[in-house]
């Protein structure tokens, strides 16, 4: 989908991207990295908003050199900052955006209602954007990026400031939309769980270099060597039952953490629960989280 070879971007003496190479497969890609790590520079170059100082970059099979206007038709952009006018209705704004990108009035109207339908916007679409809630504003921003039916959409912090329900709806909408239209996604975010929910592949950028490119399911499926157990009832008895089996349980304040030796550890936990007359709320091998992977790479 995006291929960069030895891309360098300098701002004065500062190297925002330093010999950056990546080959991103098609699909939904999450871009992570600390502020000022080169993340947004990379994205802007890929969108054709900036040109690289040196190196080569290919987006959707097209080399980005002079024909960057051509590529923009294939790319949609949902910026992080607020970019919607308060004094227009959602429908008016989107039709206008459609016409700006070269559609006829009829075409733009049809497309607007199609997208807003997918976004599950009801009568609100005829109301002024100024009256919208945060979640609805974000939806209009998303629709604006999708109006010209791009092959690839870049989402910059799409869930920032949204409350949990609005956030979940936004992520579900992104997932649903991309399924319907097969649009490819480039998602930049600070919230790692957004990446877990939406993306297939994650890349981490730091110090102008690619630090990691990995399949998301592989990361969060990786099991650790601990079993997390939540117990109700006489917990002390449970712990001493385990001790008899030479197993130490550590209380991290919320759950007991028990080292995993082999599959028989599970049986021993069950046995200890029964002997100590406890309730067993939860028992599972802890898995690696996106957070720990990220922290490891960044630090």
């Amino acid at each position: 989908m995006i291929k960069a070879t030895n891309v360098t971007k300098k701002y004065g003496g500062l190297k925002a991207l330093d010999d950056f190479s990546v080959d991103i497969p098609e699909g939904k890609i999450g871009v992570l990295g600390p502020n000022g790590a080169g993340k947004s520079t990379f994205v802007k170059i890929a969108l054709g908003l900036l040109t690289a100082t040196s190196g080569e970059i290919t987006v959707l099979g097209e080399k980005l050199t002079k024909n960057t206007t051509n590529i923009r038709k294939k790319i949609g952009y949902m910026p992080e900052h607020d970019c919607v006018p308060d004094e227009m209705t959602g429908v008016e704004f989107l039709i206008e955006m459609g016409m700006v990108s070269g559609m006829s009035l009829a075409g733009a109207t049809e497309r607007t209602h199609e997208i807003l339908g997918h976004l599950r916007m009801g009568e609100e679409k005829y109301r002024l954007i100024g009256e919208y809630s945060g979640g609805m504003r974000q939806k209009v921003k998303l629709a604006q990026g999708l109006i010209h039916a791009p092959e690839l959409i870049f989402l910059d912090e799409p869930t920032s400031g949204l409350d949990p329900n609005a956030r979940r709806e936004m992520l579900e909408t992104i997932n649903g939309l991309t399924e319907v239209s097969n649009t490819k996604v480039l998602l930049s975010t600070h919230i790692l769980q957004d990446v877990e929910m939406v993306c297939d592949t994650v890349i981490i950028v730091k110090d102008g270099k690619l630090q990691m490119q990995e399949n998301v399911e592989k990361i969060i499926g990786k099991k650790s060597n601990f079993i997390q157990v939540r117990i109700g009832g006489p917990v002390e008895d449970f712990i001493s039952e385990l001790k008899k089996k030479k197993i130490t349980a550590e209380d991290d304040g919320r759950a007991l953490i028990i080292p995993y030796k082999n599959d028989s550890t599970y049986d021993q936990i069950i046995d200890a629960t029964v002997k100590s007359n406890c309730l067993l709320y939860e028992m599972e091998r802890t898995t690696q989280s996106m957070d720990s992977v990220y922290q490891e790479i960044i630090e």
């Binding site: 992570l32 409350d163 979940r168 600070h190 069950i270 029964v274 309730l279 067993l280 028992m283 599972e284």
Partner: protein, 313 residues
């Protein structure tokens, strides 16, 4: 350190802030959750004495925070919005508020420098705040609120706009402070963050408190909503046997088998019974399992049930 709200209602003109909230907050971390405009910030402002309840009583350490200005030495407040003297450097800003806490000049600068550098602002602290990124601003706010070692920390969306590294640093700090016995009240839209910090939550919607306490306990009280409990046996062959065995029990409402994930889900409205009996059954039937969990135990799920369900009440 005790915070107590008794039937507190707060209206701003005809706009509802919070309605009839009673609670007692203890030391450790408490997460305040709810949609935008639910009344989270209002609750915090009432506790901080920035607002006075329209009805009801607030007491912090037995005193009224709105009138007792000396009480405020106990508070560290991180507001949701920006609140800076933009022309100051981060260091000056934190030191300024230390001076307001009656700390001498040299001492103030020393403590401020230490607090900012602990949060990773070594290079930035001498620069003016109006050049700061959102993450740096967030850290500066936290440094300002915590530098004088308050007993009560009230943080409104402290992770907003912070990158994962910053979030990691802040969470670690909060865990340390909670360990020291401080009372920390924190609101966040990222339920995952709250879940990884604390089990103690307060859920609020439309100004009403929907639930308060340990999230597992809260879920237990909601036994009218059947709870799915999932079991993953070690051997796939045991899946059907186990399902059959479960159906013998009166507390099983239904079972679902997910062959692909090798998972059996039992729906029940007597979950405590299941948690007690399940280990015995497994042991007697000699079925080894590698995972027992409930989808419903996540904060996401609890939030969804309470906040969405509440609209129909």
């Amino acid at each position: 350190m005790s915070i107590r709200l008794e039937q507190v209602t707060k209206n701003y003109g005809n706009v509802q802030g919070i309605s009839n909230i009673s609670l007692e907050i203890e030391s450790g971390i408490t997460g305040i959750l709810g949609p935008n405009g639910a009344g989270k910030s209002t609750t915090m402002k009432i506790i901080l004495g920035l607002s006075r309840p329209s009805r009801g009583i607030v007491r912090v350490d037995g005193n009224d925070p709105f009138t007792d200005w000396k009480l405020k030495r106990k508070f560290g407040f991180v507001p949701e919005y920006d609140c800076f003297y933009e022309h100051m450097s981060g260091l000056d800003y934190v030191a300024y508020f230390l001076r307001m806490h009656d700390v001498d000049k040299e001492e103030a600068e020393k403590i401020a420098r230490k607090a900012l550098s602990e949060l990773g602002l070594d290079e930035a602290m001498e620069r003016k705040i109006n050049t700061y990124s959102r993450g740096m601003r967030q850290k500066t706010k936290v440094a300002r609120a915590t530098v004088f070692d308050p007993d009560i920390l009230i943080m409104d969306e402290p992770f907003q706009g912070a990158d994962p590294t910053t979030r990691g640093i802040l969470m670690k700090k909060m865990a340390e402070w909670a360990e020291k016995g401080k009372t920390i009240l924190i609101s966040s839209h990222i339920l995952h963050d709250v879940q990884s910090m604390t089990d103690n939550i307060m859920l609020i919607n439309n100004g009403k408190m929907l639930a308060y306490g340990d999230r597992h306990e809260i879920r237990k009280l909601m036994d009218n909503i059947p709870r799915p409990i999932s079991i993953v046996p070690l051997k796939k062959g045991n899946l059907r046997n186990l399902a059959k065995r479960m159906l013998d029990e009166k507390w099983t409402k239904s079972t679902t088998i997910d062959e692909d994930n090798n998972e059996l889900t039992v729906e029940t409205d007597q979950s405590e019974e299941v948690y007690m009996e399940l280990p015995r059954i497994l042991r007697n039937e000699k079925i080894s399992v590698q995972r027992i969990y409930s989808e419903d135990d996540s904060l996401d799920s609890l939030y969804e049930k309470l906040v969405e369900g509440a609209q129909w009440k």
